[in-house]
């Protein structure tokens, strides 16, 4: 038969969609549940709070997603985020720079720290897990030493004002910022050479290299991007809190992986889903808020989040296995081992 250029025939595309649809279904279900059980859930007050924390969770998720694309990890997201936060605080409060300039510089710092990670990883050839594990405590320690963990609380009032701003009664502008970033990432990964190179480098670095992809460069750029995104997540929190404080970012690890993994991004690298990450974050925020509103939350919340993540990854996994089973006779992990052997 002759090949057709029909892109709908691509199986992984279908898989991706089914994953997203499934996720969306779960989310809608929970919204139904919470609204019917606790009407307050859809009060404009709660929706606003929800949209604001959603915005942050999305960007945190992106920050991890872009590194997962290269098959790596970034455990330093929280640290980079808080470094950017304190920098912005210092620049605005102590130096007195205008807000946009301070923000821009803070983002640059985040990008730089990310670049540092990428550079060391590529140059040393050491696993990104170790490098970012180390740099996480380096960055955090450095920040604490410099800032003496002092909160910057005399920021320009516009900051807090923007954080409290509501559009349409219950949408925080921060959410639109997050979605805008998402759109940009879609373009990056779907429509740019760079994005494709990052994915190729993640899927099979050796093959990509031999096909002329500057793999090292792709990895470094991904980490730089991750740093910038972590910084923007931190800055969003500055807007929300109207202050720059050292406690930001300490608990980002779980959410940063939750969103992309729930959204179907592969840890192995080579495939990301921006929309999936957004939905993943939405699911997490919905649950947090919903469980709290229903009074179950608070102390049991952690447990539920953990279980949901487990459930989600397993469902996803088994759909994958099933898909492979149809073509492959046997326990699927062997084929993978085979091909992984020399890689």
């Amino acid at each position: 038969m002759t090949p057709s250029s029909d892109s709908r025939a691509r199986p992984s595309w279908l898989a991706e969609q089914s994953n997203l649809i499934g996720l969306a279904a779960i989310i809608i279900l929970f919204w139904f549940l919470f609204t019917s059980l606790a009407p307050g859930f859809v009060s404009s007050f709660n929706l606003f709070a929800l949209s604001r924390s959603l915005a942050v969770d999305i960007v945190i998720g992106f920050s991890t997603m872009v590194v997962l694309a290269t098959g790596g990890m970034n455990l330093a997201i929280g640290s980079i985020g808080v470094c950017a936060v304190m920098a912005s605080g210092y620049l605005m409060q102590t130096i007195g720079l205008p807000i946009p300039v301070a923000m821009a510089l803070a983002l640059l710092l985040g990008a730089f720290l990310g670049w540092l990670n990428g550079f060391v990883i590529v140059r040393s050839g050491v696993n990104s897990f170790i490098i970012t594990l180390a740099s996480a405590s380096l960055f955090l320690g450095g920040m604490l030493i410099l800032s003496k963990a002092q909160t910057f609380n005399a920021l320009p009032p516009e900051i807090a004002a923007f954080g409290r701003m509501r559009w349409g009664g219950f949408v925080s502008p921060l959410l639109l910022v997050a979605l805008a970033i998402g759109a940009a990432l879609v373009v990056l990964f779907r429509f740019t050479a760079l994005g494709r190179e990052i994915l190729a480098a993640g899927a099979n670095p050796r093959a990509a290299e031999l096909s002329g992809v500057p793999v090292g460069r792709a990895i470094i750029i991904a980490h730089t991007l991750s740093g910038a995104l972590a910084a923007s997540a931190g800055l969003m929190l500055v807007f929300r809190l109207g202050a720059a404080m050292p406690s930001i970012g300490q608990d980002w690890l779980l959410p940063s992986f939750l969103a992309p993994v729930l959204g179907g991004t592969l840890l192995a690298g080579g495939f990301v889903s921006v929309v999936g990450t957004i939905l993943g974050a939405l699911l997490v925020t919905t649950l947090r808020s919903g469980l709290l509103v229903m009074q179950i939350g608070n102390f049991w919340l952690q447990l539920f989040l953990g279980l949901i993540l487990l459930a989600a990854v397993m469902i996803d996994r088994y759909r994958g296995v099933y898909a492979e089973r149809r073509s492959l006779g046997r326990k699927t992990n062997l084929g993978r081992k085979e091909s992984g052997r020399r890689a």
Binding site: A38, G40, F41, S43, F45, N46, A49, S53, K148, A149, Q150, T151, N153, A160, G163, R164, R240, L241, G242, A243, M245, P246, S247, Q250, D251, R288, S289, L292, V293, Q295, G297, N298, F299, L301, Q302
Partner: protein, 318 residues
């Protein structure tokens, strides 16, 4: 009234335990629909704010909050005010400018000052002392340091503060740092003044474990371990705060404010502290072998005094 009032500590901490009972009593005594004690899962600002937000969604009409983060809490408080929900800072203050009606808690400066005084007295007026303080990020810690320094300076040189050890208000940290301190310098120092709950407990334990009655300790709060240490002479005394009173009177005031019958007096006799213009002292006293048995009643007395005089002293009511 049909107000639903929430008392929210900064996170789980034994200090706040009495709030639960205080809330129940207040609800009973003043006929409030509900006064609930809601604890954030951890000492994290975002958990506290999320809890507050969810409680608003659940229809709570007034909040007594311990600002785990004196600044961070303000953005939430602003929203409460925007939805005209009154709120107080209990046990600790929010940093001005703030929209909380007022701050009702221990005058930390005074308490630390009195505590140090007591320690100096126990030392016979001279010696080297070390200050075990709470979180560095908590502005009260700074106040306490100043208070300790002031009390020491009044002995013009006889008593010197060797070191302030901060961030000791968590078990692991306290255990590690205090033991390291005693390990390194137990012979150089004569007295310990602790201005945070956990280091008081840990210090009492360590001294008992060292079997050292030479080093005098004045702690804070009335944890059983500290009280025992006082009984057995491992500690000179401890500064009792009035958490019960904070919860009880706090709930009472919140109820009045939430019902809309009362507003805060413009010219109320607030105390000014570096943190806020509107501070009310919830009372403090020194527990020593003398009053170890009776201090609870003394605190109760203080509480009732504050409560009965509160309305006309601080509020305008129709």
């Amino acid at each position: 009234s049909d107000n639903k009032i929430a008392l929210i500590p900064g996170g789980p901490h034994p200090y706040f335990a009495p709030w639960e009972q205080a809330g129940k009593d207040a609800a009973k005594d003043f006929g409030i629909a509900a006064v609930d004690f809601k604890v954030p899962a951890e000492w994290k600002l975002n958990l506290q704010t999320e809890l507050v937000e969810s409680l608003v969604t659940q229809g709570y009409t007034a909040f007594g909050i311990f600002p785990g983060d004196a600044v961070g809490i303000n953005s939430t408080v602003e929203e409460l005010t925007a939805n005209n929900i009154p709120s107080l800072a209990l046990a600790g203050c929010a940093q001005d400018p703030t929209k909380v009606s007022f701050c009702f808690g221990t005058d930390v400066y005074n308490s630390a000052y009195l505590g140090t005084k007591a320690l100096i007295e126990a030392l016979g007026g001279k010696g080297k002392i070390v200050h075990l303080a709470g979180l560095l990020v908590d502005p009260n810690t700074k106040l306490r340091m100043d208070a300790v320094e002031k009390a020491a300076s009044e002995t013009n040189g006889a008593v010197t503060v060797v070191q302030h050890i901060t961030d000791t208000d968590a078990q692991e940290a306290a255990d590690q740092k205090i033991n390291a301190l005693l390990g390194a310098q137990k012979d150089e120092i004569d007295g310990l003044i602790s201005t945070a709950y956990i280091p008081s407990v840990v210090a009492a334990k360590s001294l008992r474990n060292l079997g050292d009655k030479r080093i005098k300790l004045v702690g804070i709060d009335d944890d059983q371990i500290v009280l025992d240490a006082i009984k057995d002479g491992f500690a000179a005394g401890t500064m009792a705060q009035n958490p019960y009173g904070q919860g009880y009177v706090g709930a009472y005031a919140l109820d009045l404010l939430a019902s809309g019958t009362c507003t805060v007096k413009a010219d109320a006799p607030f105390v000014k502290t570096p943190q806020t213009e509107r501070f009310i002292d919830s009372g403090t006293l020194l527990i020593s072998n003398a009053n170890a048995a009776t201090y609870k009643d003394d605190l109760k007395k203080i509480t009732t005094e504050i409560q009965t005089s509160f309305k006309d002293k601080y509020l305008d009511c129709k």
